[in-house]
């Protein structure tokens, strides 16, 4: 288990007041499960009907895009959810 810092934009979170939180998880799937279970995010917001991460949202671990749900997390990692459509 690793304690990671999570940034949740208002677009994905259920609890509108919490944008940053610390969570313990060993991989991305565990992290997402916890976020859903604890009502921080709405599962339907992030995943499509096939259970796949929606195409236009990116998950970053320490600034690198990661779409593999079995990607490992390490102590102190920063995990962010950012829509693709931005910038330029």
């Amino acid at each position: 288990m690793a304690k990671v810092e999570v940034f949740l934009p208002s677009l994905v979170r259920k609890n509108k007041n919490i944008s940053k939180l610390s969570i313990e998880a060993s991989n991305l799937k565990e992290l997402l499960d916890q976020l859903v279970k604890n009502d921080y995010v709405d599962k339907d917001k992030l995943f499509d009907e096939k259970g796949e991460l929606k195409r236009l949202i990116n998950i970053y671990i320490n600034g690198k895009i990661e779409r593999r749900l079995d990607a490992n997390l390490n102590e102190g990692d920063e995990v962010s959810f950012i829509p693709t459509v931005a910038g330029g």
Partner: protein, 423 residues
């Protein structure tokens, strides 16, 4: 377009009556006018919905209007605040490029010279709209993620309206672009990483610190400024669309905005047809869109480490990339060129037409040359090439690539051997 009004009048100054709301480009969900930029269902981009039936517009209306981008108010979400419009962005020259056309084997070539905007790039257009959006929504500060040109444009308009400005850039962009932005009083943060790192941080900053990041949380309004690049070209061609237009492309936002501009002109009957060949021009060292196009993909593979002299196009994860690919599928081309070709493109434009462009302009010219040589642009097609930023912003590009000045003692005899070639 149209429908019932989704505009929340209490929250927005300057907004025009015929602006109905925002609409998701992917799922079609509609939203009130607000500082939103993606759909809360599918994260698709949001576009402004206009109800053109609420307005009357004819070409002759333009005769009495100022030569700025704000002359096309029917196509913009806001009435121009005076202190924004009086800097006079837009309505830049469309120049018939006869010598360059001859050199390349074309009959009718035009350069849309956006180097001559107030901050010397096309970014004056979206920044003017983006900063107006921030004012409209009562935001207390503005900013952007930038590869350089938007930094200066946003900072200049922020200075004019008296808002603090926070710019997030990748470390290593051109010194002259940074000092220009600093001159307007902006706070510059350089990130040890790529533009995409800067963009990600700016996205988070927009939300955490409630900053009007013009190209992020104000993006639907911001892109409307770039749309005027289509409107102006149509007017300057006496209300005809070109056959081909070439756009130096990074995020794809400008390319999409130009396409949308031509589409709206057609919708209102102001032009008779759409351009048949929109062209995306990228640098080989950062070509996520042209690579996807050539490989027949409908998705973008991120370029992790862009490596090109065209820093203003070095966006490895283009925000509008999938939408550009979608448009190209209906007709259009994408091509990329090497740094060497970009430099040749800059020289070709400067030496034949007297326009000194930054590398993005060189990309557009080099792609044009390549597509003509490959027979993908034909001799008799009417072509418009968008040249989007001044070479004075990137003086280091041509260092060592052009002839050095000849140093002489101040006596006329030393000129003889040098200048006699003119005889």
């Amino acid at each position: 377009m149209g429908g019932s009004s989704l505009t929340s009048k209490k929250t927005s100054r300057f907004i025009q009556e015929h602006v109905v709301g925002l609409k998701c480009r992917d799922c079609g969900k509609e939203f009130e006018i607000a500082p939103l930029y993606v759909c809360d269902e599918c994260f698709g981009a949001l576009d402004i919905i206009y109800d053109f039936e609420k307005i009357s517009f004819s070409k002759s209306d333009l005769k009495s209007r100022e030569n700025t981008l704000w002359r096309y108010k029917e196509f913009l979400p806001f009435e121009a605040p005076e202190y924004v419009s009086e800097i006079k962005a837009g309505f830049t020259p469309l120049i018939r490029a006869k010598l360059l056309a001859k050199k390349l084997g074309l009959k009718e070539l035009y350069i849309k010279n956006d180097c001559v905007n107030p901050t010397y790039s096309f970014k004056d257009r979206p920044a003017a709209l983006g900063v107006t959006a921030a004012l409209s929504f009562g935001m207390k500060s503005v900013g952007c993620a930038s590869t350089g040109n938007l930094a200066s444009a946003t900072a200049a308009y922020a200075a004019r309206v008296g808002l603090p400005c926070y710019i997030i850039i990748p470390n290593g962009i051109e010194v002259s672009k940074i000092s220009q932005a600093q001159s307007y009083g902006a706070k510059i943060v350089a990130v040890e990483g790529t533009y995409d790192d800067a963009n990600r941080l700016a996205t988070q900053a927009a939300e955490l610190f409630n900053i009007g990041m013009v190209n992020i949380n104000l993006r639907p309004y911001y892109v409307e400024g770039s749309k005027t690049l289509a409107l102006e070209v149509a007017e300057q061609l006496n209300w005809e669309a070109p056959d081909v237009f070439i756009v130096p492309t990074a995020s794809g936002a400008m390319f999409n905005a130009i396409c949308r501009g031509f589409e709206q002109l057609l919708e209102l009957g102001l032009i008779n047809h759409l351009p048949k060949k929109p062209v995306v021009a990228q640098a080989l060292g950062c070509n996520p869109i042209s690579k996807a196009f050539k490989e027949g993909r409908d998705y973008i593979e991120v370029i992790e480490n862009p490596n090109t002299i065209a820093h203003s196009l070095a966006i490895g994860n283009p925000g509008d990339g999938v939408y550009v690919l979608r448009r190209l599928k209906q007709g259009g081309l994408a091509e990329d060129v090497s740094d060497q070709e970009i430099i040749e493109g800059i020289k070709l434009l400067a030496q034949n037409e007297g326009i000194y462009a930054e590398p993005a302009g060189g990309v557009a010219i080099a792609v044009l040359k390549k597509l003509v040589e490959e027979g993908k642009i034909q001799e008799d097609e009417r072509v418009v090439c968008y040249v989007t930023g001044s070479g004075l912003k990137t003086p280091e590009t041509l260092k060592g690539k052009v002839e050095e000045p000849i140093l002489i003692k101040p006596q006329v005899k030393y000129l003889e051997s040098i200048l006699t070639w003119q005889k």
